[in-house]
Structure formats: structure tokens, C-alpha cells
């Protein structure tokens, strides 16, 4: 095996000397995938940009060498380098929507690469474009080449990006979080495509990701980055089965799954240190529970164990005063036994019946209604006191709209929402305000959900003031203090502004804000999807312990099935504005009945390698403005029959709790 890319001692720093990438060395063999794994702010993308010599202003490469296919990258003239980009090395980006020029047809953008690197023009280029689009699995490629990016879905755009990258027949493909912005079924398609392309063309892939599942599926070799350094490097199997560095161990332990249901997740305290803030000692020492004095004093050297497993940690190779606590010990405390065994009184807190949210499509001068977009269509659900209902679905299926309609932020078109026996729909603003305190929401993006111009105390007080709760201002202040205690923030932080907090801390503030009015139900709209894995574990632990302390109910809106397994009691699976399957977490996740649920579950990349047979979903989510007749899933379902295409299936019950809308199962008489 010859290595196609070898990097040694790469250092990239800001002009003020703070190192973003600090002394990184790795190699990629021909036809293999090397994964750079790490949380945000660890310098993964900067490593890739350094290799392509596309660093932003103010960031410079300060040392190190890199050889791509025998050519010294940093010795090249810029003009030669330009020929290399897209030619010998190509790059695909995280956000497919932003990396295609909206004003050029797909074909023209691919043809540009062909003209530059393959000197191919005219009909030949056109022909090659269609071949490439065919190759990346875009149906009806001859028509698609003349289309604009806005006519394609997110997954299609990423395929086009891959086609563009392949156009130059690169030896190395740099894929920077290629699937992070995509849904899980689309992610599975794109990852499969990358694997297929790799085995067909023999190119190498430098895969940058934060997702251990993606690493488990894609990588041959993997390097774990932390604060600008590679702290561990090994083959996939070694890394996942026997992680050496405490950070990697923690990262693996922080992944939520069903086995940990009754335990707190092993969250890593704190967050990634600021760039260049640590110059001496191990960068992870502050968050490591196995650190000892040496870790803070001396930077650990790179140690390669006999099996080729490399690690940067004093625990290995250093014969120093190694204490016994270095033995792997899962520190996760066992939470109180869940109430899942003791069935609570089945009085339901929230009852939703046949909820519909339709948005009118208006046209013409008189703004007449010519059609309706059904964002939520006939959804019914129930949440009992103290339980968690997870609402699972891909983007665009209407789950966020449903959450907002429950809160009456979007007025429902029809149906009823009953909270503790009180009807919420159709209430006037004043009557609604009296019920506002019972139900609150935690939003997805902690950076957008806190007003940057208000201090934490003001943010927390806002709800109490608006709803006239908790007496006078001194009583409110003491409540603010206790709320901050509850979510694990220092009391002093109430005088600070949101920008001084990290993403995880901001999400804690957002949770505290919702708790300020003592709600009984929290609607959590993807509260951890903008956070890193280790921070996600912190927030999930917090939510779980709050549920036990306060008896809260959660409606947990998410696309992350691992989180569902960890947190949810009941699960509803939503596909294109309707719920297709519901049941307890155990039933839905272990014995999925609906073909969509089965596909969804099989698309989740698992790190344990226990990969079930993948069910490939073809195509994309249809437009809710024009849903297919009959079963919405029929056009993508491999089991679909003529009946499915005509009639929307009734709910079939498999047990008292488990049901699915599918024609595959015979009617079971009650």
C-alpha cells in the first residue's frame, strides 16, 4: 500500500500566534478513507483547508510538510496548486445548498470542472456530465443537467457536488462533514454512494466528521482531534473496540443508546478550550478524570503502541507515576430506577385529536386561496404526566410545525388540543395567556433562542413577568437563582449576557427560561442537534434528571434515533405530515412495523457494527403541497401495492400501545 497523502508536523496558526492546528501528522493510503473525528472548534476543517492551501485571511501555515501523490503541496506555485485543486484533490462541503452557484445550471457547473481539468468541452463535456450524474445515482440525468440547483433537493445537491468532485478524477477527495446537513435516510444514501465511488475509482477520502457513526461506516483509519492536535490514531476497528485516549473513551461513552436508559450518560464536563489557550501540558487535562499532575505540566508525546495504535496521552508509554485509577471505569452514576416499571396513573396531560395545520396558497391580485399546504394533517397523540413522547421524522415532515401548533404559536386549522382537560384551540389571547405557563418550548438553536441584548436574569424573568407569576421582583430574583442552580449554572452568571456562554450553557439557560414558569410539559424541538456529542450528553442528562425531580412531561421532537432510544418512553414516527407509527420506545425501535420506520432505523449508522440489512430508500420526501394519493410513503416503499397507491391505510394495532398505518398488516379484530 502506498500512501497517497502524507502530512507531517502540520502547524496552522493565527497571525497572533495562537495555533489552530498544532503539529499534525497522518497518512492516507490509496483507496482508503481516513476520518478526522472531533468536536466543533478542534481544527478539523482548518487541517483540510491547510492541505488545499485555501486558508482564510488571518490564518497562516507555520510549519510542516504535506505530500500528495509525491508532490510537495507547500512547495508548489499557486498556479500549479490551482491546477491541482479539483484535479488531483477535490473537496465537497457540508452545506450542499450553499456550495452550488444558484445562477448556473448543474450541467454548466460540472462542465466548468471538466473544461479546467479534463480539457473537455462541448458535446463531449455534456455527455460526460450526464454520465457523472448517472454515476452518482441521479435519476433522469439527461434532464437534470439543464436544471438549476434550486430545483434539486438537499440530497440531490450533495450528489451533484460529488459528481463535480469526481469530474476531475481526483486521487484525494476531501469531504468536510458531507452529511451533517442531511437527513438520516439521505445520509445513508450519500455515504453508500461515497463508498461505491471509492471502490470503483480507487480514490482516497479524507473524511471530516463529528459523527462516530459515520466513522464506523466509512473509515479505514481514523484520527481523533482535540483542540488542534490528533490525540489518537488507529484503524476503525481498534478505535471503536479499544479506544485508548480518555477523550475517545468519553466520546464513545457519551453516545446515547437504549442500554443506558437508566443511567446518566458519561458527559464530558466543560467544553473544548479556546484556541491557543493551552500551551503547556495535555489539552484535555482539564476535562479528564484520569489526569494527574504530570498532565498539566508536560505535553504528552506521541506514542505508538505495538499494534500501530497511536495515542497522545501520559497514560501510555510514559513510565511515570501511573495511578491505578487509570483503569477504564465508567463513571456514569446510576440514576434512580425509572418509573417505567411502575406504571403511572394513565391520566393524560396533553391530548391532541386530529390536529390539522394547513397554510393557504394565495395567488393573484385578490390573493384568492388556490390551494393548501398541509403542514400537519390529522395528527393525534397523548402524553401522560411525567413521560417522554418522542416525535421522530425527517426534515420537512411537519414535526416542528406540530410543536408550534400545540403551543398555539401557529393557529391550528382544525382538531383539538386539550391540556389537562382544557381545550386550547380557539382561545382568545387573554384566556390563552392563563394557560401559557403550563406548556413551554426549548428550541433547537441555542444561539438564536436567546436575545443577545438581554442579561440572563432578564431572560429568565421575562416569562414570569409576562404571565404575572411568582410575586414581586425579589421573589423572582431568588427563583432565578434557584433555576440557575437547577440547570447547573453559577448564580453569578445571571448578570452576564448570552454571548459569554458556550452552546451547551446557552441551552441550559433556554431550559431554565422554560422552567421559570413551572410548566408541566416541555416541548423540546431538537434541543441537542446543534450541540457536540459530549455537550449533548450533558443536556440529555439534565433533561432526564429534571423529569425525575419535577415530574415533567416532554414532547421530544428529533431526528436522532439514538437520543430517542435513550430518553423516550413512547415514540411517534412522522412521515410527510402524518404519524405513521406509534408505540412504546421498545416496540417501535425493536419491532418496527411500518416500512418507513424500518428504513429509518436501518439508515442510522451504528458504531457497534451490528448493522442490520440496510433498506435503501429511493428518492426524496414529496412536497407537502402535493402529497401522493393513498399512502404517502407508497412511492418510496418497496412493499407498495396498488392498494397503497389509492387508499390511505387505517391504523392497525399490534398491541394496546403499538400501531401503524400500513396496508401490509391484516386487520386485526379488536
Amino acid at each position: 500500500m502506498n500512501s497517497i497523502l502524507s502530512v507531517s508536523g502540520l502547524i496552522t496558526q493565527l497571525r497572533n500566534g495562537a495555533r489552530i492546528v498544532d503539529d499534525i501528522s497522518f497518512g492516507i493510503n490509496a483507496g482508503e478513507t481516513y476520518a478526522l473525528l472531533g468536536e466543533s472548534g478542534c481544527g478539523k476543517s482548518m487541517t483540510a483547508l491547510s492541505l488545499l492551501r485555501l486558508l482564510p485571511d488571518g490564518v497562516v501555515r507555520a510549519g510542516g510538510t504535506a505530500q500528495l501523490d509525491g508532490v510537495d503541496l507547500f512547495g508548489l506555485r499557486e498556479s500549479d496548486m490551482r491546477a491541482g485543486r479539483g484535479g488531483t484533490s477535490a473537496r465537497i462541503f457540508q452545506e450542499p445548498g450553499r456550495s452550488l452557484n444558484p445562477g448556473m445550471t448543474v450541467g454548466a457547473q460540472i462542465a466548468e470542472v471538466l473544461a479546467l481539468h479534463r480539457d473537455m468541452r462541448g458535446m463531449a463535456a455534456q455527455q460526460r456530465c450526464i454520465e457523472l450524474l448517472d454515476q452518482v445515482g441521479i435519476p433522469d440525468a439527461a434532464r437534470r443537467v439543464t436544471e438549476y440547483p434550486m430545483q434539486l433537493s438537499g440530497g440531490m445537491k450533495q450528489r451533484v457536488m460529488i459528481a463535480m468532485a469526481l469530474a476531475g478524477q481526483p486521487k484525494l477527495l476531501v469531504a468536510d462533514e458531507p452529511t451533517t446537513a442531511l437527513d438520516v435516510t439521505t445520509q445513508a444514501q450519500v455515504l453508500q454512494l461515497l463508498r461505491d465511488t471509492q471502490s470503483a475509482s480507487g480514490m482516497s477520502i479524507l473524511l471530516i466528521t463529528h459523527d462516530l457513526g459515520v466513522v464506523a461506516q466509512m473509515a479505514h483509519q481514523a484520527g481523533v482531534m482535540y483542540a488542534g492536535q490528533i490525540v489518537e490514531q488507529a484503524s476503525r476497528a481498534q478505535l471503536l473496540s479499544r479506544p485508548l485516549h480518555p477523550y475517545t473513551q468519553k466520546l464513545l461513552a457519551a453516545l446515547p443508546d437504549a442500554n443506558q436508559r437508566n443511567r446518566a450518560l458519561a458527559a464530558i464536563p466543560g467544553s473544548v478550550p479556546a484556541l491557543g489557550s493551552i500551551t503547556r501540558g495535555c489539552r484535555f487535562a482539564a476535562r479528564c478524570d484520569q489526569a494527574w499532575a504530570l498532565c498539566n505540566e508536560q505535553t504528552p508525546a506521541w506514542t505508538v503502541l505495538s499494534d500501530g495504535h497511536g495515542v497522545r496521552c501520559h497514560l501510555y508509554g510514559n513510565p511515570g507515576p501511573r495511578t491505578e485509577n487509570s483503569v477504564l471505569s465508567p463513571q456514569s452514576s446510576v440514576l434512580n430506577p425509572q418509573s417505567s416499571t411502575v406504571s403511572p396513573q394513565p391520566s393524560s396531560l396533553l391530548q391532541v385529536k386530529d390536529l390539522r395545520v394547513h397554510f393557504p396558497i394565495r395567488k393573484g391580485i385578490l390573493q384568492r386561496v388556490v390551494g393548501r399546504v398541509k403542514a400537519v394533517d390529522g395528527v393525534s397523540l397523548e402524553i401522560p404526566q411525567g413521560r417522554t413522547l418522542a416525535l421522530v421524522g425527517e426534515s420537512g415532515c411537519g414535526k416542528t410545525t406540530l410543536g408550534k401548533a400545540l403551543l398555539q404559536l401557529i393557529p391550528p386549522t382544525a382538531g383539538s388540543v386539550q391540556f389537562a382537560g382544557h381545550e386550547l384551540t380557539g382561545l382568545g389571547a387573554r384566556k390563552l395567556r392563563a394557560r401559557r405557563s403550563t406548556m413551554q418550548m426549548v428550541f433547537q438553536d441555542p444561539y438564536a433562542s436567546l436575545n443577545p441584548k438581554m442579561r440572563v436574569a432578564e431572560i429568565l424573568e421575562e416569562g414570569m413577568t409576562a404571565l404575572g407569576l411568582h410575586g414581586d421582583s425579589s421573589a423572582r430574583q431568588s427563583l432565578v437563582d434557584s433555576l440557575l442552580d437547577q440547570v447547573g449554572l453559577a448564580r453569578i452568571s445571571k448578570w452576564r449576557y448570552p454571548h459569554e456562554f458556550s452552546g451547551g450553557q446557552r441551552q441550559r439557560i433556554a431550559i431554565a427560561r422554560a422552567l421559570a414558569v413551572s410548566p408541566r410539559l416541555l416541548i423540546c424541538d431538537e434541543p441537542t442537534s446543534a450541540l457536540d456529542v459530549s455537550v449533548q450528553a450533558q443536556i440529555l442528562n439534565l433533561l432526564k434528571s429534571l423529569q425525575q425531580e419535577l415530574g415533567l412531561s416532554y414532547l421530544f421532537i428529533t431526528h436522532n434515533l439514538a437520543v430517542v432510544e435513550y430518553l423516550a418512553h413512547e415514540v411517534c414516527v412522522m412521515y410527510l405530515v402524518r404519524i405513521v407509527e406509534r408505540g412504546t420506545a421498545e416496540e417501535v425501535l425493536r419491532k418496527p412495523r411500518h416500512p418507513y420506520t424500518q428504513a429509518l432505523l436501518s439508515a442510522v449508522p451504528r458504531i457497534d457494527g451490528a448493522q442490520t440489512e440496510r433498506i435503501r430508500l429511493e428518492g426524496d420526501l414529496p412536497s407537502p403541497a402535493n402529497p401522493p394519493p393513498g399512502c404517502h410513503f407508497a412511492p418510496r416503499c418497496s412493499h407498495a401495492t396498488e392498494l397503497c397507491r389509492r387508499v390511505y391505510p387505517e391504523n392497525k394495532m399490534f398491541s394496546s400501545t403499538h400501531g401503524a398505518h400500513c396496508h401490509l398488516y391484516p386487520d386485526i379484530p379488536d
Binding site: 493565527l14 497571525r15 497572533n16 482564510p56 485571511d57 488571518g58 490564518v59 408550534k404 403551543l407 404559536l409 389571547a429 390563552l432 395567556r433 401559557r436 413551554q440 418550548m441 428550541f443 433547537q444 438553536d445 438564536a448 433562542s449 436567546l450 436575545n451 443577545p452 441584548k453 438581554m454 421575562e462 416569562g463 409576562a466 404571565l467 449576557y497 454571548h499 433556554a510 427560561r513 422554560a514 414558569v517
Partner: protein, 455 residues
């Protein structure tokens, strides 16, 4: 009392603005996140030097805003009678410049008029010569002494100014250095400015530094008086634009629906009318009203002043649309932010959401566009006065100065100094304002801050 303070309409508005400015500054000082961008402004040398120049202009304008009428010696049956002439503190300080009027044009630092006159001598002969000025260089016995005297007075004035500047700089240095302000550029600027002021003051005692105009008024005095007019146009106009733009822009963006439609129609229509046409029509209508109601005004100054205030009003009415459109767009973006939805989930009333959540988050746009608009308005005044629909002809402004000077441009030898000094002063004012505006925009732009902190 030997004088009676007079508060003209524009004075009242300036005081209002000043009070608003001071209270804003006080509020900002107590809020760290608001103070932060201003601290970035304070660390920018260009911004601080521009601010120094701007504050000198501001000082002149403020001194010129304190108006009064002096008590006349004769009294009318025991009733106190005040002079019909409204003066300002600034006029009092520059009394020699104001009162030393010549017959007609004279060049800068000249001691003779710019036009020949018939002079009858003692022996009855009439000769055509350049007569000596009444005040400019009157202390000299002959033209050959002038250059030496100018040099001497200029140098001694500059030295005195430099000395004063040094004292100010030494006093100001310590408090400034501790805050990371750019001390050295400020020091140099202070020294240069004080030397220039000292030199001008030294020369102005005996000469007309920038010459005189057609009726013999000192051009330096006229230029300095124009500053107040320019500043008022640039700032008071915002009093009109701001409420309109803020209220309508935010309401349109947040409430959407028919409110949005109506407001959009209004500003689209308004911005499609040529603004000069609208202003001309409004000013002429107002002029007729003023002319037919002489009993409203007890002095000519108050009449001219009302016209100025009206001009600000009209300029304001025609210039709020740009800011309004910006604010509507920003509010459209903000209303989808999750913290707004969180507030809605608490049942926070719309008015409170607008004032607590949206208003503070669009203030940076308001601030940037106000500072940027300022220089445009100063220039607009000059253009409008030139066209003849600007301020009252009796009011001294850059526009009226330029308008008066334009006819003399065709004259040979050319009378250049009136135009040149109006040009120079306006350039200094607008350039300082623009540089300052640039620094403010940079300091408030979140994207630029990112790269500044990262680099």
C-alpha cells in the same frame, strides 16, 4: 438684566437632541454589551481623530445656538426694549470678526480692497486706486510691512496655540492612555489643530484671514456660522426620520399582513417622487405662509429659523424611506428568531416584544444609518440652498455662501476665496463625519468583529 435669552425653534430641538444624546451615552455606559462596540470605536485612531474634529465643529455649533437679545439703552416709557437683532454667544466671542466689515471684496490677508475706487486726495486730484481696508492690516503703515507682519503674527499665534495644545495633551494623556485609546495620533492631531487655530486667531486679530465677501463680511466668520446650519440640518432631520422609520419599519416587519402592505405602498410611492421637486414645492408653500403672516415673528432671525426647521422637517419626510426599508427587512428576519417565538410562547404582548426584543436588536442599523445619513444631509442642504429652495437667504449657510460666490467665479480676476472656504469647511466636516461613520459601522458589524478577534 442687560440681555434676554432667546430660544429659537431650532435651538429647542438642538437642546432636545443634546439631552437625548447625553442620556443615551449615560445608558450605554451602564450596559456592558452596548459599551463594547463603542470601545472598539475608541481604539480606532482614525475614528478618534475624526471625532476630535467633529467635536470642534460641534462646539462651534453649540456656542452658536445660545441666542440672546441685548437690552437697548433707550427705553420706551419704562418698558425695556431689546435689540431686534438676535445674537449668539459665538457672535459675542467673535465680535471683532462680525463687526469689522469692509466695503466689498478683499482677498485673504489683504490690506487693500479687491476693486479700484476713485480716491480724491487733499489736493483735489482724483486717482483710481485700490483703497486701504478699514480693518484688515489697518495698523500697518505701508504694504511692504505686510509679509513680515503676517509671518510674525502667524508664527506667534501658532506657537501660542501649540503651547495650549501641549497643555491640553498633557492633561488628557494620562486618563486616555489607561483605556487603550490611541494616544499618539490624538496627541499629534491635537497639536496640529491647536496650532492651526492659534495661527488663525493670531492673524484674525488684524486681518481677514479668508478675505471678505461682496458686502464686506468676513468669510471666516461666515464659514464658522455656517457650521451650525449644517449641523442642524444633519441632526434635527433625524428627529423626523427616526420615529417614522423606526415605527413604520418595525411595525411593517413584525405585524406583516395589511399593515405591511400599506406601509410598503406609502414608502414606495414616496420614494418614487423626485425629492427635489417635493422639497421645492413644500418650501415654496411654506414661504408664502411665512410671508403672509409677518405677525408671527418678532425678529427676522426667528423667521429664518422657522424656515430652517421646516426644511429639516421636509428633508426628514422625504428621507425616512431608506432606513424604513432596511428596518423592515431586518425585522422580518428577527421575527423568525427563536427568542421571539419563545417570548410569544410566554404570551408576551406584541408591543413588549417590539420594544424589548426587536428594537434593541435593530439599534445598530439605526445608528449606522444615522451617522451615514448625516453627511448626505449636510451636502443636501448646500445643494438645495444653491437651487434656491434651501434655507432663508438671510441665514448664513454653506449653501447660501456657495450660491453668492458662484456669480463671482466668472469675474476676472476671480473671487475664489468664498467658494474655497465653504468648500474647505464642508469637506472637513463631511470627511470627518464619513470617517467616523465608517469606524462606527465596522465596530457594529458582527462579521468584521469575528475576523478582528480571530486575526
Amino acid at each position: 438684566m442687560s440681555f434676554m435669552p432667546v430660544i429659537l425653534w431650532s435651538d429647542a430641538l438642538v437642546f432636545l437632541l443634546l439631552a437625548a444624546g447625553i442620556s443615551c451615552a449615560w445608558y450605554v455606559r451602564r450596559h456592558e454589551h452596548l459599551l463594547l462596540p463603542w470601545q472598539r470605536v475608541a481604539q480606532n485612531p482614525t475614528a478618534m481623530v475624526s471625532l476630535l474634529v467633529l467635536s470642534l465643529f460641534l462646539l462651534v455649533g453649540l456656542l452658536d445656538t445660545l441666542h440672546y437679545r441685548i437690552l437697548l439703552p433707550e427705553n420706551d416709557n419704562g418698558q425695556k426694549v431689546y435689540s431686534p437683532e438676535v445674537l449668539s454667544v459665538f457672535d459675542k466671542l467673535l465680535a471683532p470678526l462680525r463687526t469689522h466689515t469692509e466695503k466689498t471684496y478683499s482677498a485673504p490677508l489683504a490690506m487693500i480692497l479687491y476693486a479700484k475706487e476713485n480716491i480724491s486726495e487733499a489736493n483735489g486730484l482724483v486717482s483710481r486706486e485700490y483703497p486701504r481696508l478699514r480693518y484688515g492690516g489697518a495698523h500697518l503703515s505701508g504694504p511692504q510691512q505686510r509679509d513680515g507682519d503676517v509671518l510674525k503674527r502667524g508664527l506667534s499665534g501658532a506657537l501660542a496655540g501649540l503651547l495650549a495644545g501641549l497643555l491640553i495633551a498633557l492633561a488628557g494623556r494620562r486618563p486616555l492612555a489607561g483605556r487603550g485609546w490611541p494616544v499618539r495620533p490624538l496627541l499629534i492631531a491635537t497639536l496640529i489643530i491647536s496650532a492651526v487655530i492659534g495661527m488663525t486667531a493670531g492673524l484674525a486679530c488684524a486681518y481677514h484671514v479668508l478675505g471678505t465677501d461682496k458686502v464686506g463680511q468676513d468669510v471666516l466668520y461666515l464659514s464658522l456660522k455656517s457650521i451650525r446650519t449644517g449641523l442642524i440640518i444633519g441632526t434635527v432631520t433625524t428627529l423626523v426620520t427616526l420615529p417614522l422609520a423606526l415605527l413604520l419599519g418595525i411595525a411593517a416587519g413584525y405585524l406583516r399582513g395589511w399593515v405591511d402592505d400599506v406601509i410598503q405602498y406609502i414608502y414606495t410611492v414616496l420614494s418614487s417622487i423626485p425629492s427635489v421637486l417635493l422639497i421645492a414645492a413644500a418650501v415654496l408653500m411654506m414661504q408664502v405662509t411665512i410671508d403672509t403672516h409677518p405677525q408671527w415673528f418678532d425678529t427676522s432671525a426667528s423667521r429664518a429659523d422657522l424656515r430652517l426647521v421646516f426644511l429639516c422637517l421636509i428633508l426628514g419626510v422625504t428621507s425616512w424611506t431608506g432606513l424604513c426599508r432596511l428596518l423592515r427587512g431586518e425585522t422580518l428576519k428577527l421575527r423568525e428568531m427563536e427568542y421571539i417565538q419563545a417570548a410569544q410562547a410566554f404570551g408576551v404582548p406584541s408591543l413588549r416584544i417590539l420594544t424589548r426584543h426587536i428594537l434593541p436588536n435593530v439599534m445598530h442599523i439605526v445608528l449606522i444609518s444615522l451617522v451615514m445619513d448625516f453627511s448626505g444631509l449636510v451636502l443636501a442642504e448646500a445643494v438645495l440652498s444653491y437651487v434656491g429652495v434651501g434655507v432663508d437667504p438671510s441665514m448664513i449657510s454653506f449653501g447660501t455662501m456657495i450660491n453668492a460666490a458662484r456669480l463671482e467665479m466668472g469675474r476676472d480676476p476671480v473671487v475664489w476665496w468664498a467658494l474655497a472656504s465653504a468648500f474647505g469647511f464642508m469637506l472637513a466636516l463631511v470627511l470627518a463625519a464619513n470617517l467616523f461613520a465608517d469606524a462606527v459601522r465596522d465596530a457594529f458589524d458582527p462579521r468584521l468583529n469575528h475576523s478582528a478577534t480571530a486575526a
